[in-house]
Symmetry: C2
Subunit: 576 residues, 2 copies
């Protein structure tokens, strides 16, 4: 019993190999078809589990994935580890400080985006539990709380991906969405951890001491995100300076995540919540480089996440327990709750109607977060097979609709090209500065020399924007920008730096092409369109290389014009 025998080793390797290969293959296929890869990964488990293989060839499914015995335990160990690490990464993607820096808009959208769907979900589950699939004998308040939480959770990674695809990730709109989703996730997971704590420590029927659990949960959130965050950040500096990269930081982040998981499991509020909190604390450190964040995230999303999501499909027969009405009902509730809550929140904080709607539809995606919530609730007996299947399907469906919906709402006019606003007097400026702030000052100086703008004001606005979130978009391009009240038309200035300047891009590449973009404070579409347009133009390496060599204004315009024509050719670009 204390070691695996030869037969168990064979089954373990075969099971892991089969899961990994099929999850990666179907995940890639889904991505090719424009679907989230998690849809393919879950499908792999559905094919290998009771739904398909278990029905067609029960013997081989039971051989590979036995539900009892040593192999079941080992597989459970792997998936428990995988999901804790996945939540660690999900936490690292949350930039809590940017929520505060974003100010009122993000907080209003985040709170309204939790409050509305949560209330709708709770009331619906409270007054019509049977229609929403509550099983006989289940704990009614706990079930209602779960439905409420499931409706209000948001999948930050899905939303980030959609914003990147639309070239809106670094825009103001994108940052509000990301910050609001981060805040919503933190609240949602805190509520969920409280629910699990209730069930775990006080099985149904006993007198639930709610205040005890709420105290423990909020206490660990506060401790880890204040004192814990400082200590973690302090040690991180030491680790990044003194150890080999990326081995040092990887080991540090992963072992911290494991300790966090052990801690929260020990105080009774589920292991994955601890990993998630530690992830936020690490990710929030100003010393964590974007590049390090993406290495850790790659590391986990390519191997651990596919394994975990494939295992989800192994648990339940998705065909037998699929209930179309329930799926439709949950889907409508989710969309209605999120769309209303977030759009209203955005309107209240003063955003225009079109952007508010876009924010609301972006926040609809539940994605991986909804799925994880579902599997844990299922495991703890809060929901039955039917609701579990419905939650998984709705989570995937909401992730798929949010991208196209945002795109449609923000539909480009295509008339706003960044070259229209290039400052004619200093079109191609070779930067002397080597640091980010100096480069911004230099470009602002160049731009303001030929306009009525006050250089110091502009500088302050652009640097403040940079503080909120860096504007390196990768591929050696950076787009420092600001909205200014004094402007009536956008202004763009191009700076080139042969050595490259660190704008903390996700790919770690120093920026060689730096576009300073100033837009009027009320012209909301201009910034979005200019950012998207410039990202599209410089997405090709060839264009970037040639841009580095241009010497005159007309050369540069010709180059951009050529790139634009190229991208309009049919079949050449997804945007075209």
């Amino acid at each position: 019993m204390d070691r695996l025998g030869s037969h168990e080793i064979i089954v373990m390797f075969l099971a892991l190999g089969t899961l990994l290969a099929s999850a990666r293959l179907l995940g890639e296929t889904a991505r090719k078809l424009g679907l989230p890869s998690v849809a393919g990964e879950i499908l792999a488990g559905v094919l290998l589990g009771p739904t398909v293989l278990g029905t067609l060839a029960p013997g081989s499914s039971a051989f590979l994935f036995p539900s009892n015995g040593v192999n079941a335990v080992v597989l459970h160990g792997f998936t428990t580890l995988a999901i804790a690490l996945f939540l660690l990464v999900a936490g690292m993607e949350i930039d809590l400080s940017s929520v505060w820096r974003q100010g009122r808009a993000a907080i209003t959208v985040g709170l309204a985006g939790v409050f509305f769907p949560f209330s709708m979900g709770f009331l619906a589950a409270w007054f019509m539990p049977e229609i929403l699939g509550m099983e006989a004998g289940a704990n009614h308040p706990v079930f209602s709380l779960f439905i409420a939480t499931a409706l209000s959770i948001t999948a930050l990674p899905v939303i980030a991906k959609v914003l990147m695809d639309l070239n809106l990730y670094r825009s103001d709109l994108g940052m509000i969405i990301i910050a609001a989703a981060a805040l919503g996730d933190l609240i949602g997971w805190t509520i969920f951890a409280t629910i699990l704590g209730m069930i775990d420590q006080y099985p149904a029927g006993e007198n639930v001491k709610v205040h005890h659990i709420v105290l423990l949960t909020t206490g660990s959130v506060l401790v880890i995100l204040t004192v814990g965050r400082r200590i973690i950040g302090g040690i991180l500096v030491w680790v990044q300076e003194r150890t080999s990269w990326p081995g040092g930081v990887l080991g540090y982040a992963l072992s911290l995540g494991l300790f966090g998981a052990a801690l929260t499991e020990w105080i009774g509020i589920h292991a994955i919540f601890g990993a998630f909190l530690v992830g936020i604390a690490i990710g929030d450190s100003p010393h964590l480089k974007e590049r390090t964040r993406s290495v850790i995230s790659e590391f986990i999303s390519f191997i651990f996440a596919p394994l975990f999501f494939a295992c989800i499909g192994l648990r339940v027969n998705f065909a037998v327990h699929f209930d179309f009405i329930l799926v439709l009902l949950l889907f409508s509730l989710t969309v209605a709750g999120k769309l209303t809550g977030c759009s209203l929140g955005a309107r209240w904080s003063g955003l225009p109607r079109r952007e508010s709607l876009a924010i609301g539809s972006g926040m609809v995606a539940q994605g991986t977060m909804g799925i994880i919530l579902g599997i844990e609730a299922f495991h703890y007996g809060v929901i039955g097979e039917k609701v579990f299947v419905a939650v998984v399907v709705v989570s995937l469906a909401t992730s798929m609709v949010c991208g196209p919906a945002m795109q449609r709402i923000l539909r480009r006019t295509g008339t706003c090209s960044f070259t229209d606003y290039l400052s004619g007097d200093a079109p191609v400026h070779h930067l002397k500065s080597t640091s980010r702030d100096d480069a911004i000052r230099e470009l602002v100086g160049v731009l303001c020399a030929s306009s009525f703008l006050d250089a110091r004001e502009v500088e302050k606005a652009v640097l403040a924007r940079e503080e909120t979130m860096h504007t390196g978009v990768g591929n050696g391009v950076a787009v420092p920008h600001a909205r200014l009240p004094a402007l009536i038309t956008p202004l763009v200035c191009l700076g080139l730096s042969r050595e490259g300047i660190d704008f903390d891009a996700p790919d770690g590449e120093p920026a060689q092409i730096i576009l300073l973009i100033l837009t009027p404070i009320h012209d909301d579409c201009a910034q979005l369109e200019i950012l998207a347009d410039s990202a599209r133009i410089f997405s090709k390496k060839e264009i970037r290389n040639r841009a580095m060599e241009v010497t005159s204004y007309s050369d540069f315009l010709n180059l951009v014009e050529e790139a634009r024509k190229e991208s309009r050719k049919p079949g050449k670009s997804r945007q075209g």
Copy 2:
């Protein structure tokens, strides 16, 4: 039994977190002290296991790492997976085709480097089993075979690391060592798999059908490395083209490794051997980029390997079972066997005395391979605690001495600087070519225009050398080179390429500084010293950036002179 309970989840996360954190910390510390990081990783386990924590606080050691129950099974599952993946990576580092391309020298050194220590080990264990620590009741022939194999195994990763530290990795000498070690590893592991197969299928006392096992082992080697390799390489091309990088290749390589492990475990010759063979088959594909290889290897060496090696220390009380005489004996046998075998092999294939000795001392390192052999033999009961501890200690000790020994033997005269041989007529050539072969042709043309050399002959030699192993050394530097019979003094030519040319460097960086190095065929030290000297000069980013800007011969010489002075300052460089 089919799932982990809350207590077991806490223990699992705590145990993994503690192992990972301490292994990484001590591993980094070891690296800082100039020791192999695996020494620190094993020490972490020694501290946490029976040797230290188990003696001082038996309760906490037993709590974290129980030897029975669900947690022991889960931990065994993790380490089994970790070691299979580690061997997969070790296999990927073996470039079998380069063994054949290297020709006689590599094969002679490789075979002699196995044959000598193997015979010495076998004879020693056969005639004095008690002195070498054989336990009463152990199978004498199997024990002798194990000692023989342990003595003849070589740690390719350790040797590669030492060669890189000495700036000799891409030299002819380095390539012979690497190829010979690869061949030796393949032979050593095949023998070891045969031994394990014997024990596994026919417990001691029964009639061992040796020919059956030998047939199975060699059969799987042949099938995987011929037909398997073709199929694996073919699919790899498809995967690299069609899937996202690095997720696609990572998933492909890992799942293949898992299937290979399942296959060989099933036919009865140990899981890790299958992973190793699959690794060789993948690594041998000409379509696998160096960059992909290093991503996969990072992925596994930073998390899985530390966990595995730390677990080794958990198994045995290293203080109680340490036997100084046995360690000394095994160490002497290893060094004597390897040094004699490989040096003789090198002499037979016509290499000069000094290089032969250097090859012999480089091949002495047993490193991780010796340790893995030891833990598996211990697990199968081939050896007892005493021999196991001795094998681990000797493996580490041989890894530590091989670097300094090689350095001492090849001690630099310091008189050979590459600038002495720069062709004066075209010192700084800005390359027009964008492909590797064109760039080599262009540089050869420039160099030959001002010498008596036949450009076509030189070109052929340099391109042939490039075929054997690419000469991108990373950091944007490449050193295409060849030894020519017609030369009496070395010739060096510098080419700069602003766009960079792909020389398949381990870090994926295109080469901007390209040094073509031609040396006389008999002047063996010249090539080594010029390669090492140029690598040293261009190891600093600042020097490389400034080199890209030089316009004249004298500018360049001044720059190199300055870099040389800088590196001679005390405390500035490890070489200085």
